[in-house]
Symmetry: C2
Subunit: 336 residues, 2 copies
């Protein structure tokens, strides 16, 4: 018998946000804890369990959770582990699904990375409802992606598929990327990439710009956006440059899975026509002829504050990982 | 009740080859007709039907065909049509599945493009047996691809997914490609691409080479291979250049679907270490760190003469398109 709710958990570098979600994608209630308060993972799990239980009790939902879906950086759907997370304090391999399922008395748990969770959320509750083939691109500090083919998440043979932020868009003299290589999409089309472009343009060019009023090392993509909105020519050119590179990369992605839509999410995606106009022009111009005019570039339809929890929760409905305590007979949890 | 055989049909620009194939991938018997003998498609279908029937009768297989699988350039799995084929005389939209199913009294038919058929053949009978996630790359006159994710062919929302020969590998001053754009993988790493590289190198460089004994416009990739085998330094550099570009492109493909293997097929794939050494070096060097050391680059295990028919036949087992003549009650074909 399916229970009426799932629990969605989004583990970010700063906050862990969790919410009770119903089948229609309504966040019934949510709360959060600080991700890095405990350097010991078991202590973190204890606090998460305590606070989630408090939320469940307050909403009379203790026995109504079908499954728990968790989005976390570098979380692997197949193994249930977080592997080498760049921004979490609990070591190189964290047995996330096992520990959470154990803490919650065997409730099924599924985990995946944050961009895949975003794609699942969009497919279940957002702009990609009803689509069987689409690509989700998250434009944040980095560039993440989640790919859906035939209505299924693409995890690859090892659970690590969908790192389209690390497609190489510049083969020679490309920017150094956080991954250690050069020329990755993420080094150009993330929020930090836009700030890097601003610094490059300001150093190479001589024309006046509102951006010259800001200390160069502290310029953010938001500063570039504000300057462009105020009519600053150089700032607009930074968006043209970013949109062109992103549009060309999205066109290459179509040659892979010919998606019905590419869904953009994140701060940069909210730059409106400043980004979308050069992006769509470059996209259509760069497409292999049979794809032209077919794939829509659209924006996420999920509220940014809810999106991470909703995305993670969507995974809760299909969660299967079920921790069985060694000394407890199978099914015993149903006797409680 | 499943019947013991399928019919595989490969429609090429010159020959249409067809064979009776059993469940273990044994080609029981095969034959062929000339593809372009008839400019009228119905006449072509008539001859195909006649010759296939002759083959079936000679092998006592008239009532033993479960389905017909057809590989053809630009054939669309969803619609059953060939659309704008570059090399066939029957017009822009050819209702291939319908006409074949009709001619064969309602036997289920499925069609797909030749590279997808190759991938299905490799998955069913060849180097990718047992794999759920792999990418097939065909290195012929052009560069084709077939992608398998979660054990399923990736067709995309419109049936046109998997054109990885048209990933852009050179953004600026790239070679003109047959598709009308510039910088496509196919313009560098196909047999014709290798010949183009040879001409470029011979014009730009001044050092001696065995290739200078050949009229420059008639140089083929086979000539480059023979010269490299004979120790020619320039010819080896042409393979280094080709392998590097292909290796870098294959690394980008991993960021999409994290395949267990990439299977190479076609004339160029048989160049041995001349191609594979620079290819594998560039591949491992270019991979996003989490993918390193995981994805194998392997060669097709199907005999080249059988591969096209086997690949097409693999589709026959899952064929569902079933033409019902308007005046025949459903199921009437079973009364015959």
């Amino acid at each position: 018998m399916t229970k009426p709710y799932v629990l969605g958990v989004d583990i970010g570098g700063t906050n862990t946000v969790f919410g009770i979600v119903d089948a229609r994608g309504h966040v019934v209630a949510s709360s959060s804890i600080k991700t890095k308060k405990h350097t010991n993972f078991d202590d973190y799990i204890d606090e998460l369990h305590t606070e989630v239980t408090r939320l469940l009790e307050a909403n009379d939902a203790e026995d109504k959770i079908q499954g728990i879906g968790i989005g976390a950086p570098n979380a692997n759907y197949y193994t249930g582990e977080i592997v080498n997370p760049p921004n979490l304090p609990w070591g190189p391999i964290i047995p996330l699904a096992e520990k959470v399922s154990k803490a919650f008395n065997g409730i099924p748990v599924a985990v995946t990375n944050d961009a895949n969770a975003a794609a699942l959320g969009e497919m279940t509750y957002g702009a990609a409802r009803g689509m069987k083939d689409f690509i989700m691109i998250t434009l944040g500090t980095g560039v993440g992606s989640g790919i859906v083919v035939n209505g299924q998440m693409v995890y690859g043979h090892d659970g690590n598929a969908g790192e389209l932020g690390h497609l190489v868009v510049k083969r020679n003299n490309g920017r150094i990327c956080g991954c250690g290589r050069t020329g990755c999409l993420e080094a150009y089309c993330s929020a930090t990439g836009v700030a890097r472009t601003a610094r490059e343009f300001l150093e190479i060019r001589t024309e006046p710009s509102l951006l010259r009023n800001i200390e160069i090392d502290s310029i953010t993509s938001k500063d570039v956006y504000d300057a462009a909105l105020a009519g600053d020519k150089l700032a607009k050119e930074i968006f043209d440059y970013t949109g062109r590179i992103l549009g060309e990369a999205l066109a290459d992605m179509c040659a892979f899975s010919s998606p019905q839509a590419i869904v953009l999410f994140g701060g940069l995606a909210k730059s409106g026509e400043l980004l979308m106009k050069p992006l769509k022009e470059a996209f259509e111009r760069s497409l292999f002829p049979i794809y032209r005019g077919k794939t829509k570039i659209i924006l996420s339809e999920l509220k940014e504050s809810d999106a991470a929890v909703l995305g993670a929760s969507a995974l809760g409905w299909e969660a299967k990982y079920h921790y069985e305590a060694p000394n407890r007979p199978v099914g015993a949890e149903n006797l409680a």
